[in-house]
Amino acid sequence: MPGQANFASVDGLHTFPRLLLNHAKTRPAAPAMREKYLGIWQTWSWADVNERVRALACGLASLGFKRGDNLAIIGDNRPHLYMMMTAAQCLGGVPVPLYQDAVAAEMLFVLQDASIRFAVVEDQEQVDKMLEVMGEVGTLEHVIYDDPRGMRHYTQPFLHDIHELMEMGRIHDRNHPDFLNTEIEKGHYDDVSVMLYTSGTTGKPKGVCQTHAAFIAAAQGGVQVDKLGADGDILSYLPMAWVGDHLFSYAQALVAGFTINCPESGETVMTDLREIGPTCYFAPPRVFESLLTSVMIRMEDAGKFKQKMFHHFMAVAKRCGADILDGKSVGFGDRLQYWLGNLLVYGPLRNVLGMSRIKVAYTAGAAIGPELFRFYRSMGINLKQFYGQTETCAYVCLQPDGQIKFDSVGQPAPGVEIKIADNGEVLVKGPMLLKEYYKRPDATAESLNADGYFMTGDAGFLDEDGHLKIIDRAKDVGKLSNGAMFAPNYIENKLKFFQHIKEVVCFGHDRDMVCAFVNIDVGAVGNWAERRGIAYSGYADLAGKPEVLELIRECVEQINADLVHDTMVADSQIHRFLVLHKELDPDDDELTRTRKVRRNFVAEKYKVLIDALYSGKSNQFIETEVKFEDGRRGKVSADLKIIDAKTFPIVKKAA
C-alpha cells in the first residue's frame, strides 16, 4: 500500500518533518500556530515552530530518545504538544497521543502496550497520573511537562520542564549541528508516523499504526477536494488522540500550511471560536447539536418580535437555503427573501456561532440527523459529512461541493476504492490504510480481507450516483423476531435530534418490539422546566418528573409516526421506553471516550430495566454505582416509570 500517495505535488516532501522544514524555508513568517495565553492570542510563525521543533527533537535525543521509540502525548491541544509530535518524527520515533480526560488506570493499558519510555504531558494533573502508574509501566523513564504551574515541589529527576528540554536541545544542536538533519534525512515515507489507539467500543484498545505516506495521502486528498489554502485557520480543540484532529490539525495543516489555533481552555471554545473565526471547522455531530440547542434555548428568551422574525426566516432558509448553497436554481422571490434573511438572521447567527468566515465545516464520527444537517447548510454554512475510521486516516468518503445529500456520506475520496460485501459491509482500499495494529498481527490479518480491503464493520450501500449511505454498525443491525430489519442507530439518531433528548439506546434484536432508554438533555429540559415553574433538584429528579416523561413521550410518538412511512423500518416503532436516572457517562464505561454508546455494556448493566420493559411492568427500581470525576464512587437510585408510547398501524406498501 505505501508509495501510492501522490508525491508529485509536494516534491520529495514525503514525511512530516520535511514538510515542516519546507514551510519554514519558503514562508517563514506566515503564522503556523496560535494559542491564547493570558487573554491574548500569541502567534508562532513557521520559522518559530521549526526552531522549537528542532530544539525539542535535539532535547529528546540528548535524553536518549531513539529511532523506533514511542512518545506518549497527553494533554489538551497545546502548540508544544503538536510540536512534540513532529519532534518525535524527526528522530524516527512515533508519537502516541492519548485521551487526556482518561483516568490513570485507563491510560495504563496503552502505556504498557506501546512500551512507553518517554511521555510528554500538559500539566500537573497529567504528571500526577504518570506518577500513579509509573510503578506498573516499567519502561517509563522520562516525563516532560508543558505547564510548570504547581510543579514547584516535584523534585523527581525524571521530570523535565519542556523549556529546559528545549534549552538542552539547543545546546545539543550547537554541539552537533548535523545531527538532526541526518536524522530527518533517514526518515522514510513508509515509516510509521503516528499511532492512534482505537477507542475500543469492543474489547481492548488497539494501536493503529499509520505511515507518513498514508496520512499525507489522506491530507492531500482532503485539501484538493475542498480547496483548503495556506491562508486558512482551524480551531484545534478536539482530543489530539482522535484521528479527526490528527488529520485536520496536524496532517492537513502541514500539507496545506494553514494555521492551527489552540483555545485557552476547554470551556472557552465558544468564545475562542468567535474570536478566531476559522475558515475550516470540524466537530462531531454532538457539538453541532449542542450549538443548535443553545441557540434555540436563547431564542426562546428573546422578545416576541425577534422570535417571529427568526422563525419566519428559518422557514425561508429551510425552503431554499440549501439549494442556494448548492448553486441550484431558485426563484427570484425566495432569493430576495433569503438575501434579507441573510442580512437580518443568518449572518448575525453565523457570527454568534463563530462561523462567519467558514469555507467548509465537517462533521464525522457518528451519523448526523438530517434536520440538523439541513439547518446548518440552509444558513449558508457549507457543512459536509465525511466518513472514515482510525484505520483509514478518517479518509474514505467526502462530499464534493454541489453534490451534498443529507443522508449519504458522499463519494469515495480521491485514491479510495469502495466495495460492498455480500452482507452489506463496506470494504475500502487505498493509500490511507493502516500499516498494522501495533503488536497484533492477528488483528491486522482479521481486519483485511484476502484482496487487501479493509473491513470497516459498517453496513451501507452505494446509491445510484455512487454516494455511500451508511445504515449502522454491521454488527448492530439486527432483526426483530418477525424478521424485519432493526437498525438501532438509525432510530436513535432520529430521536436525538430533539433538543430535549441527549442520548438514546434502543433494543429490539430478536425481540417482538423495540424499546428504548432515553437520556434527557439537562440544559434544554431544565430550561423548559424552569419556564413552566417545575422545580427540580438534579438530573435524576428532573428525569423522573411526570411532565418531562410526557414531553419525551410526545417526541417518541412523533418519531413513530415518522417511521411508519419508511417500509424498511416501520416495524421499529418504539413501543415502550423509560428515562434513565443518570446520564450515560464515559467514566462509568457506558460511553467510549468519543462518546459513542457501548451498547452491549449498557444492555448488561441495566438488564433489570430491559427485563422490565419487555415484561410489561409499569415501573422498576434501580440502584447504580457511579464514578465521580475525582475517582470517588457513589450510588444513585430511582424508581423508574416505564411509559407506553402510541404506535401507528403500518401502511402496507400499496402494491
Binding site: Y37, G39, E264, S265, T271
Partner: protein, 260 residues
Amino acid sequence: MSKKIGDVILDLQNISLRFGGVKALTDISFNVREHEIRAIIGPNGAGKSSMLNVINGVYHPQEGKIFWHGNERKKMEPHMAAQQNIARTFQNIALFKGMTVLDNIMTGRITKMKSNFIEHALWFGRARKEELEHRQKVEEVIDFLEIQHIRKTPVGRLPYGLQKRVELARALAAEPSMLLLDEPMAGMNVEEKQDMCRFILDVNDQFGTTIVLIEHDMGVVMDISDRVVVLDYGKKIGDGVPDEVKNNEDVIKAYLGAGH
C-alpha cells in the same frame, strides 16, 4: 509539603469589642505567622466575622493592642488595610453584580493605580499604559483561578460557587501579603469545595500569601490549616495545631453541647 512558616506578622493582644452593651469579643489574644494558613472557627455568633473585621479595620476594639509587623497599629480605616496589603472576601458575596468578571477583578487593582480620575476618564497619558499593566496582572489571576471562560460574563449571571471564586480573584488581584477569607466555602458542593481548597493551598504555596480564614466545614479546616483558633461567645477557648484543637475538651463541648 514542607513550607517555611516565618515570624509573627500580626499580633492581637487582649482584644475586646463591644457594641453598646453587647460584648462581641472578650479579651482575645492570638497571632498570625507569615506564610501560614490560620483558621478561626466557632459556633454561630462566636465572633469570628467580628474578629476579621477588627483585623482589617472595620471595627475598632475598645481594648487591646494590634501589632502589624512589630509596630503597634493606630486606629485605621479599611482602605488603609488595603494599602497595607491586606485583602479580603466576604461571607455574603460583595461583588458588582452588573459588571463583568474582568471589570470586577480590575477593581482589586484600584489601590495600585497612580493615575487620577480625570486621566482615567479621558483614557489619556499614563492611564492607558497603566491599565495595560494592570490588565496583565488580572489576566494572570484569571489564569491562576481558571476562570477564563467567564471573563466577559456579568457576575450576577454566575452560579454561587463561581462568584465566590471571582471574589477570591479580586482579592488576589491586589497582590496581598495577607488574605482574609470569610467562609470561602459556605454553600458550595463537594466538588466546588475541593476546587476552592486547592486554590487556597496554591495561593499560599505559590505566592507565600498568609491566609486567615473563617470556615464551618471542619473537614476542610482541619485539612488545610496550619493552626486553628476557636472562639465561643466572644471568648477564645482553644488555639493550636488542628490535632490539638480537635481533642480540646472545651472545643468539643462548645460544638456538641455540654454533657457530652
